[in-house]
Symmetry: C2
C-alpha cells in the first residue's frame, strides 16, 4: 500500500471484499455479522482510512457540493458585504448536511465560458448571487440544466429561475410612507446602480408612493448613484448646492447614504437638523457610523439560508420549477430623520405640499 489507504487496503487487512467494507463504512452494518463489522471498523481505523470523495462523487453521480457564483461584474469579495452575509446563511444550512461549497468567481462575461466553469460536473447545484441585468449567469437555461437559485435579484418572471430576495417594493413603500408620515413633502432620492433590478424596484416604489400621496417628484432632486459610497458623496455635492433643497434625501442603499452623510459632514450640514437622510439595507457599516441611520433591515443571512434550503430541495427532488420567495424588510428608525412637523402641521399629511427647507429647526 503506497499513498493513502483505499477501500482495497482496508478490505485486505480485514480479510473481506471491498463491497463489504464499503457497505459497512456507509452504515449498512446490519447486513453483516457483528464480528465482521468490528474487524472492518478496526482495519479502517488502524489504517486511518478516509473515503476519497472524488471517487465517491463519480460513482454516486452526486458531489455533495454546491457552487456559489458571483456576478462577473462584482467578482471581488472585498466590500461585497452582501455576499458574505448570504454565504454565512448558506454555510449554516449546508454544514450540518455535509455539503461543501465551491466558490465561483468568473472574470469573463462570455456566458459559454462562465457556464463551462460552473456546470462541469463538480457541483450539484448553484446559488447565483445578485446577477445584474445582462449577466451571463442568467443565461442558465441555454447552457445548463443544473438546479439553480438566484439571490439578491428579484427577476422578472420570464427568466424562469427560482429566486429569493428581500421584497424591495414593499420595503421601500413602507420606508417612504414613514418618511411622509414624518411630515416630509420635499423628498430627494439617490438611485442605485442602473444594472440592478433592485435599483429599479426601489425607485419605482419610491415614485409610486409619492404619487399616491400626491407629493410632487422634483427630478432635480432625483440623482443617479451606483450603490457605492462615493456616488452618495457625489450626489450630496450636486444636490446641496441647489438653491432649493429637499427636507429629506432617501438613498437606495446604506452605502450611498453613508457617502452622503460624509459629504454633509465635510460641508458642515447637520443631519438631521438641516437635512434628513434614509438608507436601505441596514449594512453593518451604518451601525458603526457616528450618525445612526434610519433604514430598512433585511435578513441577508436568512436569504442565504433559504436559498440553500430551496436548492437542496431542487437537487433532492429534481423539482426545478421556479419558486419565488420574497422576504419582508423591517423599518429601523434611528436618528437620521427629523420630523418635519416642526413646520408642517399634521393636517397637511393627505394633501401634501412641498415645504422645502421646512425641517430646519
Amino acid at each position: 500500500m503506497r499513498g493513502k489507504p483505499t477501500l482495497r487496503d482496508v478490505a485486505e487487512r480485514a480479510g473481506c471484499s471491498i463491497t463489504t467494507v464499503s457497505n459497512i463504512l456507509q452504515g449498512r452494518s446490519h447486513l453483516y455479522r457483528e464480528d465482521m463489522v468490528h474487524q472492518v471498523m478496526r482495519a479502517a481505523q488502524e489504517l486511518g482510512y478516509r473515503p476519497n470523495s472524488i471517487a465517491r462523487s463519480l460513482a454516486r453521480r452526486r458531489t455533495a457540493t454546491i457552487g456559489v457564483a458571483l456576478d462577473p461584474q462584482h467578482a471581488r469579495l472585498t466590500h461585497n458585504l452582501y455576499a458574505h452575509d448570504v454565504l454565512d446563511g448558506i454555510l449554516a444550512f449546508l454544514e450540518p448536511r455535509d455539503y461543501d461549497i465551491r466558490l465561483i468567481t468568473p472574470r469573463t462575461s462570455d456566458p459559454a465560458a462562465v457556464w463551462r466553469r460552473i456546470d462541469n460536473g463538480s457541483i450539484d447545484g448553484v446559488v447565483l448571487i445578485a446577477p445584474v441585468m445582462g449577466s451571463p449567469l442568467l443565461e442558465w437555461r441555454h447552457y445548463s440544466s443544473l438546479p439553480a437559485v438566484v439571490v439578491g435579484s428579484t427577476l422578472p418572471e420570464e427568466y424562469r429561475l427560482s429566486h429569493i430576495d428581500i421584497d424591495n417594493t414593499s420595503a421601500m413603500t413602507m420606508l417612504v410612507e414613514w418618511v411622509i408620515q414624518q411630515g416630509h413633502r420635499a423628498i430627494g432620492y439617490i438611485k442605485g446602480h442602473p444594472l440592478h433590478w433592485s435599483a429599479h424596484q426601489r425607485e419605482q416604489a419610491f415614485r409610486r408612493v409619492l404619487e399616491r400621496y400626491g407629493v410632487p417628484i422634483r427630478e432635480e432632486w432625483v440623482l443617479q448613484g451606483d450603490y457605492g459610497p462615493e456616488s452618495g458623496a457625489r450626489a450630496a455635492e450636486q444636490l446641496l448646492r441647489q438653491s432649493e433643497l429637499p427636507t429629506v434625501v432617501m438613498a437606495a442603499n446604506d452605502d450611498m447614504a453613508i457617502g452622503f452623510l460624509q459629504q454633509c459632514r465635510t460641508l458642515e450640514i447637520a443631519v438631521p437638523d438641516q437635512i434628513s437622510v434614509t438608507g436601505f439595507d441596514d449594512s453593518s457599516w451604518a451601525e458603526r457610523m457616528g450618525i445612526p441611520l434610519t433604514t430598512i433591515r433585511h435578513d441577508r443571512y436568512q436569504v442565504g439560508y433559504l436559498a440553500a434550503q430551496q436548492l437542496l430541495h431542487q437537487i433532492e427532488t429534481g423539482d426545478t420549477r421556479p419558486q419565488r420567495v420574497l422576504i419582508n424588510g423591517a423599518l429601523v428608525v434611528r436618528h437620521s430623520v427629523a420630523s418635519a412637523y416642526a413646520l408642517a402641521s399634521p393636517a397637511t399629511l393627505q394633501h401634501a405640499f412641498s415645504t422645502e427647507g421646512g425641517s430646519k429647526q
Copy 2:
C-alpha cells in the same frame, strides 16, 4: 445518449476512439491529421460536450482545486474582513490558472473530524486562514500530508508550516517609534485576542520599543481586548475614568481603535485634542469613519496572492519544506494622533517622563 454527453458520445459521433477525442480536446492535436481534429472538434461542439471534472480529477489524481479553511473559532465570514481580502488575493492568483476554490468552514474543534473534511481527496492543497493557538487546523502534520500554507498567523518555527503574514513585530515597532517621536511618553495599549499570535507579537513589540526608549510602561494603561470593536469601547470605559491618563492609546487593531473612538465620542472626549489613538491593519472600516485613524497598512490581498502562489508551487513541485514570508506594513499617518510637543520639549525624548494629559491643546 441520455444525460450529458461524454467522451464516448463525442467519439461515436466523430467516428473515432475516445483516446483520440481526449487527446485532441486536451490540445494534443499535433498528433492527428487535420481532418480528424476538425471532425472531433465539430462533434464536441455540436453535442455541447463539456469534460466532467470529477472523472478527470480521479484519473489525473489532481483536482485543480484548493481549499480555503477558516478557523473553527472564526468560521463566520460576516465581519471577517481579513478573510475577504485574503480570499480576493487567492482568487486573483488562481483564476487565470484555472484553479477553483473550496470553502471549508469547520464548526467542530475535533482535529480528526476537521481534517476528514479537509483532506478527503477533493483538493490539492489548502490555505489555512488565521489559525489561533490550539486550532485543529494546526494539527496538520498528524492528519494530512496535503500541501498547506498558513496566512494571518506568524507561527513559531516548530509548527513546520509554511506561512505568509504581515511582519507584526517590525510594523508595530515602527508605529510605536513614530508615536514616541511625536513626543508621547504616556502611552496606553489595548491588547488583541489572547489566542492570536499576532496579539502577542504586537504587544511584545510595543513593550520592547518602550523599554528601548526608556519610556515606562504603566500596566494600568495596558488593557485586554479581543480585536472586536466592543472590547475597544470597554477599554475606553476602563481607561478614561482613571485619574491619570495616557496621552495616546495604541490599539492592537483598527476595530478596537474604532470602538475606542466611538466611546470617546460618547464621552465627549476630543480625539486627538484630548487623547490620541492609533490602530493597526488599516481596515476599510477606518477609512469610512469620521476620524481618520493613524494606523499600519498591510496588503492583505497581497498576502492571499502570495499564499496561493506558494501553495501552487508546493503542489507542482512537491517541495513542501516550510517557507516563511513576512510582508512589511506601512505607516499611515492620518489625524488621530496629536503631537505631544505642545507641552513636552523635544529634549525630553531620550529621558522620557510621563506627562499625563499633556497633549491637550
